[in-house]
């Protein structure tokens, strides 16, 4: 009897220890991060704010971390993945829109004429978004996104877009959550474009996704209540818009912010100007071999002011080339199996 009950008790102890926090006992919660100043700055920060009794301890309800998406959690080359989605949608919808054959920017899309498309600028882009992202219910839009994300592939890598996420950032998200952080996306991309897949890909639920949005209205159609997507912008969650989006959605100033471009500058500025311990991190795309190399002159994900001011502002610049052992999960798996 004593033996059996002792075994049960031991099992309970083992379970209790395992339940405390998987990462607390793990040797290295960030295995794809090479040892160095970037990794150390992140882990030092997390230890500091989670060590009870320390002057810089932060209570769990205030452990909020915000992440840009394009170029920070997943890639953004050769074009923003959401733009690739819009282009694919234009092609899919073209048979119902014969007028698009002679109307820009749709003609450029159908002709695969990227130069003309780029020249159509923000106005052209907005027309594409409105034509492909609105005029249906929120439920139907979510389904269209879901089908696309599970099948569409990047022309440069031939990989699914959803697989072009950064393994070191996935580890970082898990590490922060295991340490009591709430992790949010704060992206210039469309809120409703990210929601259908961000939970399965990043473990981030729909209510923790802040992004640009179009107007919607509630209506009862033939007795069925629906949320209808209207062809009108609601909010641009970029640059000065990011601290505003954080205000509306989160309502507490985060203590850590992760970005990769000057579109994230104000978010990092806002987050790191708060009192107490703060962490601002910029991911620098300097690895042409394993990912893409671009910064000051790039049309996508331009990082100029951020590079100039990171040091004086105490922001950590992560070199994808030097600080990350591998980048995409499929690269990390391949590297692991070679060992």
């Amino acid at each position: 009897m004593l033996r059996t009950s002792s075994l049960i008790l031991l099992a309970v102890v083992a379970y209790s220890i395992a339940a405390i926090s998987p990462s607390a006992l793990a040797k290295d919660a960030l295995p794809s991060w090479k040892e160095g100043p970037a990794k150390k700055a992140i882990t030092d920060f997390v230890k500091k704010v989670t060590t009870s009794g320390e002057l810089e301890f932060v209570k769990p309800s205030e452990r909020i971390a915000v992440f840009d998406n394009d170029g920070t959690l997943w890639a953004e080359q050769p074009i923003y993945f959401q733009l690739a989605f819009a282009i694919d949608r234009v092609k899919a919808l073209a048979p119902k829109h014969p007028e698009w054959k002679n109307k820009q920017p749709f003609k450029a899309v159908l002709d695969n004429d990227m130069d003309t498309l780029v020249k159509s600028g923000k106005r052209g882009l907005m027309e594409l978004i409105m034509a492909t992202h609105t005029g249906m219910s929120s439920k139907d839009f979510a389904r269209v996104v879901e089908i696309w994300i599970n099948g569409a592939r990047n022309p440069k890598t031939g990989k699914l877009y959803r697989d072009m996420i950064y393994q070191p950032m996935l580890e970082l998200l898990s590490y922060l959550r295991a340490n009591g952080f709430k992790t949010y996306i704060v992206s210039g991309g469309g809120m409703d474009f990210m929601r259908p897949w961000a939970e399965s890909v990043y473990g981030i639920p729909p209510d923790q996704i802040v992004g640009s949005s179009i107007k919607v209205k509630y209506e009862v159609k033939d007795g069925t209540p629906v949320i209808t997507r209207l062809p009108e912008l609601n909010f641009i969650d970029d640059k000065e818009g990011k601290p505003v989006g954080i205000h509306y959605h989160i309502g507490t100033r985060p203590i850590a912010a992760f970005g990769n471009s000057d579109g994230d500058f104000q978010m990092l500025e806002w987050v790191t100007a708060g009192e107490g311990p703060r962490l601002g991190v910029l991911i620098h795309h300097d690895d042409a071999e394993r990912e893409f190399a671009y910064d000051r002159e790039s049309h996508i994900g331009k990082l100029n002011r951020g590079l100039d001011e990171a040091e004086k502002r105490g922001w950590v610049v992560v070199s994808m080339k030097s600080d990350w052992a591998c980048i995409f999960p499929y690269q990390c798996k391949a590297a692991a199996s070679e060992k």
Copy 2:
């Protein structure tokens, strides 16, 4: 040695059992709710969606419950508490605004002339809100609200506004959270008016508060980043606005909705029209003795269509008089100490 280690192990076992879920072991998680159809409908629903293996089981990530605030979580008589706040602010700010002595609706406020104030209508109300809720940083506004909520008293009861919350609803919030629900406020009231105190009063954090909002902008003032409140409406979270606010902030259709007025009609309609198990609840203010009695003809918290359609829509109507053993926490404590 064996004895000591056994004691430690037993302590761990006791801790483990206690940690499962405090409410799972409690006899009655809703002691202020009288036994009856309303309480039964709520507890049956919760059991159904949380019983693993049941056809109607709902996974925790989809257990989302939304609550109106005014008249559902706290009282709203003789005037919306946020309007009382605006009136108190006008009086406090009056010395800096000599022009208000001769300008409506401010004159009416300073003269305690409620008739004229009411006659100024929505436009007058909006002027009061803009004059008292904007033109400062979000941080300063939060501080002003916090000071007010901890000191201002209701003229009818003499109690702090923050104490005029409904004990049965506090129990319900805890009960739902103990059963894996995320609880949100979805209120016509100001998001930034509720955020400074909703966590300490209801246990609802700032990012789970959906409400009406004014526009804000991000700016760097003398080197310090601030969120400045602008005198412009951003969003009205009432009637058809409630499902829209839910879309923007939550992004998942809730499975349970609690309201008390026709301003909550569309929210209940949207929530209960979804597939699978759904719960719609209306709190009916029918207790003139312990709280206030009002419904179809009331200027505040009018409940007319809701009463007409509740039965056919399968919504639960809670009688504050018959279904609640006590209403405000101070009444509940007094009742408990009399026993």
